[in-house]
């Protein structure tokens, strides 16, 4: 349907249209400027030596290996915690307690948690995991904190994945005499799994970029070794980047830009994986 147009009002309409469109152009140009700025500053510093070296007080010797290893440790452990807990919670809300008062209360709670600033999760982690549970400033404490941070999103996306499983599948299973849990475990979860995995990876890619909560629980900003277990102290890519940005020397700023490129490459890989899984899932759904 086309709007009616006439005379001067047409001019105003066109001007408004151009103004509205230009906001999108500004957003795109900003994204472009950000990417080119980081590439321009960091590409020259990015090489094999940078990826495999440990932190150093001399910028030209410093590398990202310890932070990259720390990020991978934390993220794998976060996934191991958030996946079972998130899926279990989503299955309960979607399949069992659909109409109960308790389920409704839990739902509201999850929605509120999703909007709590991430630094508050850091204070929670500091109070509960680092001190009360005496985990210290370890990979484990960091992963527990990030898992709580990621859970609301994992639960939300898992519920969406569960909802795409057609009702007839459940009914067919019940008709064959399966119990509710047998139906969920053998029919519903396998069908929803690619969708669940996509949601998990996307929420983890969020967690990978988180800096504030891990600084708050006391992840170290200078650490000359990679973690060797879940109780080891650690640092992660965003904290290393922050540490380099905060130093006055220009050479460290170059390191920060190169670190950002490594972080962005990691995020792109994770997102590409999620998109790949989603596409495969959709093709399966159609056939």
């Amino acid at each position: 349907m086309k709007a009616p147009r006439a005379g001067a009002r047409h001019g105003a309409d066109l001007a408004f249209r151009v103004l509205a469109m230009s906001t999108l152009v500004v957003a795109l140009v900003t994204l472009g400027a950000l990417v080119f700025d980081v590439l321009g500053d960091g590409l020259g510093r990015l090489n094999w030596q940078f990826l495999t070296s440990l932190a150093s007080r001399r910028p030209e010797d410093a590398g990202i290996y310890h932070a990259l290893a720390g990020t991978i440790w934390v993220i794998v452990l976060t996934a191991a915690l958030a996946l079972p807990l998130g899926v279990a919670a989503a299955v309960y809300l979607e399949e069992y307690g659909t109409n109960s008062r308790l389920a409704r209360f839990i739902e509201i709670n999850i929605a509120n948690l999703a909007a709590v600033p991430s630094i508050i999760y850091g204070l929670l982690g500091l109070g509960v995991f680092v001190r009360f549970m005496s985990m210290g400033r370890s990979v484990m404490a960091g992963a527990c904190t990030l898992a709580l941070l990621a859970l609301p999103v994992v639960i939300l996306s898992t519920r969406e994945a569960l909802r795409t499983v057609p009702k007839s599948i459940r009914e067919g299973s019940y008709a064959l005499g399966a119990t509710q849990w047998q139906t969920i475990w053998h029919q519903v979860l396998p069908m929803a799994f690619p969708g669940i995995l996509t949601g998990l990876i996307l929420s983890l890619s969020r967690a990978v970029g988180e800096t504030a909560p891990l600084i708050t629980i006391g992840a170290l900003t200078y650490i000359p070794f990679a973690p060797d277990g879940v109780w080891s102290p650690f640092t992660v890519l965003p904290i290393q980047i922050f540490n380099w940005v905060s130093r006055p020397q220009a050479a460290f700023k170059e390191n920060a830009a190169a670190g950002i490129l490594v972080l962005m490459a990691l995020l792109l890989t994770m997102n590409a994986l999620a998109v790949f899984l989603r596409d495969r899932f959709q093709r399966q759904g159609r056939s």
Binding site: R17, L31, L34, V38, A88, L124
Partner: protein, 293 residues
């Protein structure tokens, strides 16, 4: 009867996982409340909330939180001054003007903008936007409120845009067609019919964006400096509530000391502020949903 009992057991385990979220909320409130209570035993609430000097790490400490609140409000206001008009206009464009295939290209790009880690935005504010702004405002300091505010606005833009667009697309088609039938242009329809009709949904988006800006940490920790200052001048260094928590966390403040407890007291204030904003936003959205149900 055995499998039945197993079924009940599994249901209970699933319920406990779901209840972990309630436990998380309780944990947040408990941790913040306990340390804040200890803090308030040494610093009177009135002094904390109305004092104009924040120097907890000095030899002669003062615990007036107003400079941190002022810093947070100033940076958030700058961010909203960017995100509100731009977010609203881009939402109007996407909802009322853009052809479907353009929407399909633009929306993922906006999602990318929302997915960039905040530490990267901080770098961008400090290393790119601040030098650029200094050419226009030579009196501007290397650390300031303006640059992180603008960058934060760009960061929040996708959130405002997509929530406001959802609200506008939920406005029934009949209202637009009525306006067109009366001879209104697309601009008149968008501004005088669609936006007012979606008003509570759009306001909910704005409020959620304020909450995001207030809680945002890394951009301000990197680009705004770390000097608590009661000012409305966007060109000088200042400190926000979140940046203060980061500053103390980076140091070696021993636990159990008063300085250590300040981050929980400031965190409590931050939590209460964002929680209130989120509640209002949810309430507005629910109301909007009822209107057109």
């Amino acid at each position: 009867m055995r499998p039945r009992r197993l079924e009940r057991l599994i249901e209970l385990a699933l319920l406990l996982s779901a209840a972990l979220s309630v436990l998380t909320t309780a944990g947040i409130i408990l941790v913040l409340a306990v340390e804040t209570f200890e803090f308030l035993r040494e610093v009177p609430l009135f002094e904390f909330l109305t004092g104009t000097e924040w120097t907890p790490l000095f030899a002669n400490p003062r615990f007036g939180v107003l400079p941190l609140i002022a810093g947070t409000v100033l940076v958030s206001a700058i961010a909203m001054a960017v995100a509100v008009p731009m977010g609203l206009l881009s939402a109007i464009y996407l909802s009322e003007y853009a052809p479907e295939n353009l929407r399909r290209v633009v929306k993922p790009v906006l999602e990318v903008l929302a997915g960039v880690p905040t530490v990267v935005y901080g770098y961008f504010a400090l290393m790119f936007v601040t030098p650029l702004l200094q050419r226009v405002f030579p009196q501007m300091s290397g650390f300031n409120a303006l640059s992180p505010g603008i960058v934060m606005g760009i960061m929040i833009l996708p959130l405002v845009s997509s929530l406001a667009e959802d609200a506008m697309r939920a406005v029934p088609r009949g209202l637009r067609e009525g306006a067109y039938a009366l001879g209104a242009t697309r601009m008149q329809t968008a501004l005088q019919v669609v936006v007012p009709a979606a008003f509570s949904g759009i306001t909910a988006a704005f409020i959620l964006a304020v909450s995001r800006a207030v809680g945002e940490t890394m951009i301000v920790a990197i680009a705004a400096g770390q000097q608590p200052r009661l000012t409305a001048n966007p060109f000088v260094p200042l400190e926000t509530m979140t940046a203060y928590i980061v500053q103390v966390s980076l140091g070696d403040t021993p636990q159990g000391t008063l300085e250590y407890r300040t981050i929980f007291a400031v965190g409590m204030l931050l939590f209460l502020m964002t929680f209130a904003l989120n509640l209002v936003s949810t309430w507005l959205r629910e109301r909007f949903r009822e209107e057109y149900a």
